[in-house]
Symmetry: D2
Subunit: 345 residues, 4 copies
Amino acid sequence: MILILKTGASEDQVAHVIARVEELGMRAHLSRGTYRTIVGIIGDENRIREEPLRAIPGVAEVVPVLPPYKLASLDAHPEPSVVDVSGVKIGGGNLGMIAGPCSVEDEDRMFRIARSVRDAGANLFRGGAYKPRTSPYAFQGLGEDGLKLLRDVGDRFGMPVVTEVTDVRCVDLVARYADMIQIGARNMQNFVLLTEVGRTNRPVLLKRGMSATVTDLLMSAEYVLSQGNPNVVLCERGVKGFDPATRNLFDVSAVPLVQTLSHLPIIVDPSHATGRPDLIPACALAGVAAGADGVHIEVHDCPEVAKSDGPQALLPDQYRELAAKIRQMAELLGKTISPLPQALT
Amino acid sequence: MILILKTGASEDQVAHVIARVEELGMRAHLSRGTYRTIVGIIGDENRIREEPLRAIPGVAEVVPVLPPYKLASLDAHPEPSVVDVSGVKIGGGNLGMIAGPCSVEDEDRMFRIARSVRDAGANLFRGGAYKPRTSPYAFQGLGEDGLKLLRDVGDRFGMPVVTEVTDVRCVDLVARYADMIQIGARNMQNFVLLTEVGRTNRPVLLKRGMSATVTDLLMSAEYVLSQGNPNVVLCERGVKGFDPATRNLFDVSAVPLVQTLSHLPIIVDPSHATGRPDLIPACALAGVAAGADGVHIEVHDCPEVAKSDGPQALLPDQYRELAAKIRQMAELLGKTISPLPQALT
Amino acid sequence: MILILKTGASEDQVAHVIARVEELGMRAHLSRGTYRTIVGIIGDENRIREEPLRAIPGVAEVVPVLPPYKLASLDAHPEPSVVDVSGVKIGGGNLGMIAGPCSVEDEDRMFRIARSVRDAGANLFRGGAYKPRTSPYAFQGLGEDGLKLLRDVGDRFGMPVVTEVTDVRCVDLVARYADMIQIGARNMQNFVLLTEVGRTNRPVLLKRGMSATVTDLLMSAEYVLSQGNPNVVLCERGVKGFDPATRNLFDVSAVPLVQTLSHLPIIVDPSHATGRPDLIPACALAGVAAGADGVHIEVHDCPEVAKSDGPQALLPDQYRELAAKIRQMAELLGKTISPLPQALT
Amino acid sequence: MILILKTGASEDQVAHVIARVEELGMRAHLSRGTYRTIVGIIGDENRIREEPLRAIPGVAEVVPVLPPYKLASLDAHPEPSVVDVSGVKIGGGNLGMIAGPCSVEDEDRMFRIARSVRDAGANLFRGGAYKPRTSPYAFQGLGEDGLKLLRDVGDRFGMPVVTEVTDVRCVDLVARYADMIQIGARNMQNFVLLTEVGRTNRPVLLKRGMSATVTDLLMSAEYVLSQGNPNVVLCERGVKGFDPATRNLFDVSAVPLVQTLSHLPIIVDPSHATGRPDLIPACALAGVAAGADGVHIEVHDCPEVAKSDGPQALLPDQYRELAAKIRQMAELLGKTISPLPQALT
């Protein structure tokens, strides 16, 4: 860590800075420049990262040298991690193809959609039983009935299932039914929930918050990892932008950026990123070309009656066409769409 | 609600749109323009707000006419609400002056800080016992011990206390000790937590999320209100910006904007908005001048050893000076700093 | 255009709105909803687009029905435009591969870089002779000497050249030397410059401004088109974002979004979008996969001595590797990298 | 300047970094930490600020120690500057009250508006003769006729006038008629225009660009100052935000932030910042309370027929009421609204 002192910091202030650094068990290395004095702190940066060094009188700026996450970093695990979701692999050259409706709805519809996305090439089925809705008057999901139905679909079609948890009191319940637990964008910094999910042994799909930097996202992953659960898959799903033409701003550069910093797989969700079926296929392909480890797409067979997010769903036929293109691109890039765990197809 | 159809929408599509609207129990009023057909929907907009109308084939855009919140709106309550926090009033000409350290720390320090801010004119004492920290390795708060200590401080100095809740399982516990419950920015769309807090009878301080529009903020307030708890105070504390010079971007216009839309009081938190003690006083005064119903400031007597957010704390003397200026400005604007509930001072 | 009146708009206000609409030569179609009155305006929206309708008393909101650009729209030209830059085609399945150093520097270096990018597959050579630098103390470009040198390079290697114009007084000069004129991001809304460039017959490379919506970008293109110059190529080069990890935020969704709205070609510039050589290849491929009509990359053979933007330049070898991957992806997508105009290679 | 080297930078790289630094005429001071090596550069940072140090192999990050502007900094001029606009003072405790219509329109209207704002307390009259419009089809201003009319209004009512220049070829013409020259937000980084305006002796009103950091704004001021024109007044007028409820996001914290960095006066423009008459007064007062050196407001006596920006204009009566409140607040803060230069009122 480096402390840049203020122009005109007094000798007393310099001495106090050094004393404070030594109190914290580190050594200080002074460098007096033409205009400013700089204090290099020598020792384990992690031990003092959370100290309010910028509040020491005379300190103008604190420049960390190491990233604030450890387990999520490439230092901890130099090779890309492969997360196994009940037999389907994500990361390290394996693409996860997650598809399904926004909300779990009635059984017939679930079966129809699941069959269509499985036949198109999806290897994970998604559906929300607990929906974090902006409005208290909107459909909030089917709850445990939805979880059961989702499990049935998964078993019937041989697809592992992923669903969101929003309430810390439901983590065990969700972990019982789902193969992978999703933390939604609005809960990316719900640290209590991250901690509880980290105590399960279920793979976690962690969506990037709308105003989270990539470092913030990796810090949230660190919450899960630090509880002993190493199976985190990150998901870029659009950040807040200023152009009302799209629901969010799809930050495709987050994919290679994460890969320079972390071993964790990262997939893309162009459905939420754009909110527009006419832009989803192009953005899905962009994500794969950028190196994403999977693609998350919402699919519904009758969007105009969907219980949530209908306007951004792809139709089954649109999904089939897109999945075929993703397959071709995966081949070009030397990647594999992880097959379904059992030969049930 | 207005549906703008796509250029070249077919007659079949128009007929289907009308049928769909009528199925939903509304009437459709067609207006064929030079280029586009527009369908005005007549009936109670709230009944169809959550329907996926934009997913109906041929529909290009859906324009709502009413705001999506009800209880938070001026229609529901045309006069400004006054929230009473154990005797201290916020709103309707009464300023809440919330001050205290970021985290609850040791007793001596709490007492010292509380005395200084009370003497300076604060009427509510703050301190976090449960801290939502970006890093799992950072100080997470003293928990229930912190709550007890905070209660002691409040009782000793005659100041109602406000503290954050981050875990839905702790809502009752926090409500037992605190006069006002804070929902932090990162939990503004933790709808489960909002719902539980709405079930208590404690006033709620609801902080705006970093990427939340004012409508989003009011929708989160609606969650609390719709559970039967009418005592919500909103708080502008900076949104995500692109200039690294400040921690966040203080959106002072949110104050008058809320007042054109809602009866709920809104205060400002320039500590989190700027993250810089040298900018906090100017932004606090700006907030009051813009019409804010209170000011939330973090104060610490030795920021360089604070357990969290030290670098953004004002010193007690700086707070005293600022509070004096706020008092003068309040007078100019015809507002009152609500006195402490008892003559304990 | 639709006018949504305020709740409680008086009959006098309604009558005045109608009168004002008719004064402007349009017809008004009234629709009284349950809560609000809506006025559909019938007639040529373009004639009244710039009228301050929102300032008419009683009007709450104005909802346009048509896009504000005409010549740039798909209505004006339903097929994708192909822009011919002295024999190199961009658009309609043809990829422009623009490469070269940020600034024109000395002749030897220019020749070396040009040879390497041409051999790698670039079909347009770039280099700035007039540099818009944030600092008045930074290198501002070689001026006309730079233009001459750029022309020499183009002639010697058979590559059309593109260079930026920043001063309206230099437009003719630049047009004399360059095959394509670039308008930089900071000048995207320099309407005087757009107008002058629109009066030349040179193809224009129009870069998106850092806070411009796609509509803003198309409106700037409209300035050029409306002067009679139909040869505009748009360029996504990153918008302002909140994550300091990258220089800008690469908005890859702008590529398919433009294609739903306009016939103009759009290319991507991952060099400026990310500012990081380690992210440029992934983002370049993402752009092509999303449907971009070309890729703009800065290349330098010794970035540490480059006169500008060295830290974001690819080395010639890195460019060669990337160009090979772009070629493979182009093939997969059925696109062609437009060959050099003459068999000089 | 500090160079942070990459983890694992080789000894050869370290040696090359040092050699490169010395080649540039500076000295390098090495500090080997537990994880990383840091190189402090000793010497005049300004001489190497524009060198591509981040492109040197092995360098991870470059941390500047000094701000990139000189003449605009407090080092160059520790006291607040006072800019004299033909007798009206801005800065150093003097408030500039700029008011007038967006565009110069017909003479009668100009006279009516000028009289009303002068009587309300404005001390500078504004009006655009050259309008930078998003659409090529919108009213572009009256040009030189507008300038003449504006001059007449100024002379008649004894108010200095301010007007925008958009074309480098018109700088002398505008300087002939106007007392103060405005550079609009969209031209804040039109460096050619800044340079030309810097060569006149007219005070310059420099508006912050929509995606400009405060450092960017000060760098643009530096362009003007470095040409010999010291009379620059900065203007915060809203940056790009994500909430469509307001036209831009009013960054009131820019006012005190500028004052910690620069001696230049800074005023606020809540008209463009919010785009909403119902929010303008609150934001104007917020700006003054935050320490702004003036307030820029658009006023029109019949917004529904204004040639531009009608929907955001205040009516003369609304301006009078606001100006009275600003006067009271100025008094409270110990500031003066600079009187008109002559006793013509």
